[in-house]
């Protein structure tokens, strides 16, 4: 049995290697400071676009990516400039950001917290991204926001609608332009009251995770305030693809409105299943049965096909808006990609411009300077009317759209129509509102 001997020298050597491995980083650590993470040194600055490119939200992510590429073009002075000409702040020159040409790297969140953090980390650590933008799910947004806080870069959230993103889980380095569950509730309730009356009994199906709960809570509170009753709230597993067993009991429950607190594939399937059961043609309590989908997206409306007809929901923005900013963006996006931009594309585009503008106004890429420039920033011309980035929780306040599935769409993109533009004042809330309580922005972190 051949076996090499364990010699004293050999052991010393091995442990020296191991020990050296342990000591190395601490010894070298002192040299690592350079003001803030990934301070751009050359004549370019790198933005990181972290969107789902695979998995159930991939289409959404790709649309975000298109918008972000367009924003980069506009920042660098290529193309028609899009919303840069309608934006109320004129700090952006079309020569990149602070004179540095904008480049970008992309990552795939796969709509999984782990994968999203990994791709964000790789963009920060490997590609030197100075900020992270995008995403299409609240869980992912919260996870990446936490990461950016630790790493010391700015996070501009994409599509995230949970109250927690700027509530319980808010972070000093994270900013959200998109609206949230509370705002949906506040915007929807008056319209629902007007369309369907005060005396309604609602049955909620709710996706069983953070976003679903906060949205359900918000909608139930807002509709109960106008006199509705909440008959039942059923939590559905996020992984469900067939909702028939949850929808089958709805008619027996005495409810006359079905609220689907679902998003993405869940929403497409639960809505289609509800239509299969013919709920919309039924009469309960002497009233027509109605379906409400609090958070709409045009990509999902396309996925649900004809099923969205007559169904009410809310949106952050829609390409059919007629203000100058929206028109400019829709034109610029439509000409480049041959299709109107989605709600999430808009938010990511705007977030990129807002970030660039904040850098210009702050005169630095330092996250703390940028954050300061964004906090309390009032602007207009980006499609949502006068908007405020509130300093207390980094949430944007602006008008909210109430949408309805169109009865007679004239083309494949014309699936939804705007029922009402709910004014900003109606969806505002105090930063310490109970649905948003428990969070702590903390200190802005510029990183190493």
């Amino acid at each position: 049995m051949s076996k090499s001997n364990l010699t004293r020298r050999g052991l010393l050597k091995t442990s020296a290697i191991a020990g050296g491995g342990l000591m190395l980083p601490t010894y070298l650590r002192a040299a690592a400071h350079s003001g803030f993470t990934n301070a751009p040194t050359g004549d370019t600055v790198t933005l990181g676009f972290n969107v789902p490119q695979t998995g159930p939200y991939a289409e959404e992510g790709l649309d975000e990516l298109r918008a972000q590429e367009l924003a980069v073009e506009h920042l660098n002075g290529e193309g028609d400039g899009g919303m840069m000409s309608t934006f109320s702040s004129k700090a952006l020159q079309g020569n990149g950001i602070l004179g540095k040409k904008v480049t970008f790297v992309t990552g795939d969140t796969q709509t999984k917290s782990d994968a999203a953090r990994a791709s964000a980390k790789s963009m920060i650590e490997k590609d030197g991204a100075i900020m992270i933008n995008g995403g299409s799910s609240s869980g992912v947004a919260i996870a990446v926001q936490g990461l950016c806080q630790e790493a010391g870069v700015i996070f501009m959230a994409g599509l995230t609608h949970s109250n927690d993103t700027t509530g319980k889980d808010k972070k000093a380095n994270g900013f959200r332009h998109f609206f949230n569950g509370y705002m949906s509730g506040a915007a929807l309730a008056p319209v629902l009251e007007k369309e369907y009356g005060k005396d309604r009994r609602a049955y909620h199906l709710t996706a069983d995770y953070t976003w679903g709960w906060t949205q359900q809570e918000s909608i139930a509170a807002a509709t109960e305030a106008v006199g509705w009753q909440t008959v039942e709230n059923v939590l559905t597993p996020l992984a469900s693809t067939d909702f028939s067993s949850y929808i089958a009991p709805v008619l027996n429950s005495g409810a006359d409105v079905l609220v689907l607190n679902h998003y993405g594939g869940n929403m497409v399937n639960s809505l289609s299943n509800a239509i299969e059961f013919d709920l919309l043609s039924k009469e309960v309590n002497g009233k027509n049965f109605e379906i409400v989908v609090p958070l709409y997206s045009e990509l999902m409306a396309a996925g649900a096909g004809e099923n969205v007809k007559g169904v009410i929901g809310s949106m952050n923005w829609n390409w059919q808006l007629t203000d100058e900013g929206s028109k400019a963006f829709t034109k610029s996006f439509g000409e480049k990609y041959g299709r109107p931009p989605s709600n999430s594309a808009h938010t990511c585009y705007v977030q990129t411009l807002l970030y660039a503008d904040a850098c210009e106004r702050a005169g630095t890429f330092n996250p703390c300077g940028v954050a300061e420039a964004l906090e309390g920033f009032e602007f207009d011309g980006l499609g949502n009317g006068p908007t405020l980035y509130r300093a207390e929780d980094h949430q944007c306040f602006k008008d909210v759209l109430v949408m309805k599935g169109k009865e007679n769409p004239s083309n494949q993109y014309d699936t939804l129509e705007i029922v009402e533009v709910t004014p900003r004042a109606q969806v505002e809330y105090a930063p310490d509102h109970p649905m948003f309580a428990g969070g702590d922005l903390g200190e802005c972190n510029p990183g190493a």
Binding site: S244, S245, A248, F277
Partner: protein, 343 residues
């Protein structure tokens, strides 16, 4: 009572999809001894046969209509499907409307061909390899297939509605003597159940009453002896693979109107259908079917409010819980045979 009937209906409906997929899996396992992880992908391809046919029927040419405008303010391009131009608007519209049922005919030859190619081109070389290798290579194939579909059809679900006459729901209440609207069920799902019962019946009848089926059953029981009798069992097994693929494909075609097909729908069903097969007993066809319906009904009942308030989360774990209990009490599943896959 009405609630119970509803959940039984619903369970039968869920169960029919499980049973059809599990049936195909068991056919492949029982005849060829191959664990086919690409079976979910076959189901998905079936659904995309329906999508493809409806897309083919909707292929259109553009006419520029100056009186209307598109979202950019340019003149609207009006799309007219070719089938409407060729066969007249009514026949054309009817063809588009009926594309899912027509896809059944369209999909059978496609699925059988895919099955043949898979078996001859790939699976054949894996008969003598360990099950782990079979799982891995078919899993790789499943990934490849679904990525190809994603490349051509995108990641979003594609709505593929059933014909107009089958939309809506049927009210059983009057028939059963309940209040109106207390037991309603979508028509297409009822059709799905009937369809799967038909397919299952046909497969069993084929195996039971034809000479071909008899030889295959003999081969399943003892491959070598049948071979020694001078029967070319391999060729028959290849045909069985084609049939199994067609069964999965048909399950997929008919499923398209229930949930808009997307590229990962196969993976969603894969794990579940394996649980179904194992619970039913590896290699047992009646077992697979029985387990499919059993788990479907249990899952349905576990989703009721009553069940989820009694045991939170029961709706998400019921299938696995039942699988564990059955495997511990009946080591080979409900109807499994001794010595299968236990080495």
């Amino acid at each position: 009572m009405d609630a119970i009937i509803l959940q039984i209906l619903n369970g039968l409906d869920k169960g029919s999809a499980y049973a059809l997929i599990a049936l195909g899996l068991t056919l492949i396992f029982g005849t060829l001894g191959v664990v086919n992880f690409a079976h979910g992908a076959l189901f998905m391809i079936g659904a995309f046969c329906a999508v493809t046919l409806s897309k083919i029927f909707s292929l259109s040419y553009e006419v520029i209509d100056e009186s209307q405008t598109d979202f950019l303010g340019n003149p609207l391009k009006v799309q007219t499907p070719y089938v409407e131009a060729w066969f007249g608007p009514e026949t054309g519209a009817a063809l588009i409307d009926w594309s899912v049922p027509l896809a059944i005919l369209f999909s059978i030859p496609i699925m059988i061909t895919i099955g043949f190619i898979m078996e001859r081109g790939l699976i054949k070389h894996f008969y003598k390899r360990p099950h782990a290798d079979q799982i891995l290579v078919t899993f790789g194939l499943a990934i490849v297939l679904q990525e190809i579909i994603k490349y051509y059809y995108g990641a979003n679900p594609i709505p593929t509605p059933a014909p107009d006459v089958f939309r809506g729901s049927y009210d059983f209440s009057a028939m059963l003597g309940f209040e109106p609207n207390s037991v309603i069920y979508p028509v297409w799902r009822l059709i799905y159940f009937a369809f799967s019962a038909l397919i299952i019946g046909a497969v069993f009848a084929f195996l039971q009453f034809t000479t071909f089926g008899m030889v295959v059953r003999a081969g399943m029981a003892d491959r070598e002896t049948v071979g020694l009798l001078g029967i070319n069992i391999d060729k028959r097994f290849t045909i069985m693979f084609g049939i199994a693929a067609a069964v999965a494909g048909l399950a997929g075609v008919m499923y398209a109107p229930i949930n808009a097909p997307n590229y990962h729908m196969g993976m969603d069903f894969l794990v579940l259908s394996f649980v179904v097969v194992v619970v039913g007993g590896m290699g047992s066809l009646p077992g697979a079917v029985a387990a499919g319906f059993l788990l479907g009904i249990l899952e349905s009942f576990a989703s009721t409010t009553w069940a989820t308030t009694t045991i939170p989360g029961i709706n998400q774990i019921i299938i696995y819980l039942v699988a564990i209990i059955i495997l511990l009490t009946r080591p080979r599943g409900l109807m499994g045979k001794k010595g299968v896959m236990e080495e």
